[in-house]
């Protein structure tokens, strides 16, 4: 069961977008771009609206897709946490949420990319959010 779910646009009143992670080359492995196109209907929506996901902490994250002239869309993606406007972000929460979002992404990309390999890679490099077993 996934801990990350696609959600609709949240109420942004009193909130701000807190930068979390950016990818300049989302199609380095094209199946990753395909995953985002599929998941957020980007063929239909294009640049019209970002995607939103709810992470395990309960925070909603927005995925802003980036286009570059001459390249298939999207070429990049930025991830922002939607947080209370004047409140700082808790680094540990952010990190665990990002881990969950990336794990969800890898699972959605599908074979030969697996969450097991994602977990193993995180463990190898001792990422705190990676499961220990």
């Amino acid at each position: 069961m996934t801990e990350v779910t696609v959600v609709g646009k949240p109420d942004l009143h009193g909130k701000r977008l807190s930068f979390a992670l950016a990818e300049d080359r989302v199609a380095h492995y094209p199946e990753f771009r395909d995953f985002f196109i599929r998941t957020f209907e980007l063929d239909r929506k294009g640049l019209a609206e970002p995607g939103y996901v709810r992470a395990p902490s309960g925070l909603v994250y927005t995925l802003v897709f980036i286009g570059r002239s001459g390249e298939p869309f999207p070429s990049g993606v930025e991830i922002y946490a939607i947080v209370d406007a004047l409140e700082p972000v808790d680094g540990e929460t952010l990190d665990q949420d990002l881990w969950a979002v990336l794990r969800w992404m890898v699972g959605g990309v599908g074979e030969p990319w697996t969450v097991e390999d994602f977990d193993r890679t995180g463990r190898l490099y001792r990422v705190p959010a990676a499961p220990t077993t």
Binding site: M105, D117, V127
Partner: protein, 311 residues
């Protein structure tokens, strides 16, 4: 982003890196390098994710043997400027950066020592500026299209580590390569963690500064559509025709660019080369065998001098 200044290095790192910092504007970027000693130049090139510090145990012995030693920090690493956009980096661009420095210093009779990405970048410079070269040393690198190694085709851990978004997370937020990645690729890990690991981590202090650590892996060709495939084809072709005196040194325990596959392939391309000479070391063999490698280079150059009647 530029790492502020060399004097921002912690005292314990500066004690191991006592060389005068120099800077040059190369190809639109600010490059840090050191320039020690006098004589024919020996240029020491590092790769991902290290900097000149990798050669700290080799510089003095080579200088003492009557050579000039130049160690540049690749743009994006060490004390050089660190671009913040992936598009700022390319194999050809990095070769051009090095070419600019070599021309500014007007170096000739260069012994070019290539390690990791110092191979494809340095050899691209060498093959396009043969009149400036005297000799080559090749260590744990490659110069042909693909596959670089079976390791690089695997999802765990290599392709996963630099996959979209995963790369910026693991290698950026968590400095997986600059920290633990290097640690895993030396033989004496205890010594490395104590003496060297902080020097690699310190100069890449934040996620943005670590950009090149996940960009370089994406430049390794894995299929016919890879961005650098034509450059590597050219490189293989040109290097195969090269008659430059060459020394091949490899880490006995290198499991990424394993000696049996990689050093032997270089030997086949360059049958006149000396070696492969095996030393204790994994991919970052300079960490385990720096003085020994310096000695091999010194002796090789002495033999070359004798052959050419230099001294």
């Amino acid at each position: 982003m530029s790492f502020p200044l060399e004097n921002a290095l912690p005292e314990e790192i500066r004690a191991k890196w006592p060389f005068a910092p120099r800077y040059a504007d190369v190809n639109g970027w600010r490059m840090h390098y050191i320039d020690e000693g006098e004589g024919d130049p020996v240029v020491l090139l590092h790769g991902n994710p290290t900097w000149g510090f990798l050669y700290r145990d080799m510089i003095e012995p080579i200088v003492r043997s009557g050579r000039r030693v130049i160690v540049p920090d690749m743009i994006g690493f060490g004390l050089s400027e660190k671009p913040t956009r992936e598009q700022a980096h390319s194999l050809d661009g990095h070769a051009a950066n090095l070419t600019a420095l070599m021309r500014q210093l007007d170096l000739t009779r260069i012994m070019l020592v290539c390690h990791d990405w110092g191979g494809p970048t340095g050899l691209s410079f060498a093959m396009s500026n043969p009149g400036r070269l005297r000799a080559l040393t090749l260590m744990s690198t490659w110069a042909w299209p693909m596959p670089p190694a079976e390791f690089h085709t695997r999802i765990f851990p290599w392709r996963m580590m630099h996959a979209p978004l995963v790369g910026p997370y693991l290698l950026g937020r968590h400095r997986a390569l600059a920290g633990r990645g290097v640690y895993l690729s030396v033989v004496d890990r205890h010594k490395f963690a104590r003496n060297a690991q902080p020097a690699y981590e310190t100069v890449l202090p934040d996620p943005a500064s670590r950009l090149l650590t996940w960009v370089w892996p994406r430049w390794i060709p894995l299929d016919e559509n890879a961005r650098a495939i034509e450059r590597f084809r050219w490189l293989e072709q040109e290097l195969s025709r090269s008659k430059l005196p060459t020394l091949i040194v490899w880490g006995r325990e290198d499991e990424v660019f394993d000696a049996a596959t990689f050093s032997n392939r270089f030997k086949k391309m360059l049958p006149h080369a000396e070696g492969p000479l095996l030393v204790t070391g994994r991919h970052f063999l300079q960490e385990d065998s720096g003085p020994e490698i310096a000695d091999l280079i010194r002796l090789f150059l002495n033999r070359l001098d004798k052959k050419e009647g230099v001294r």
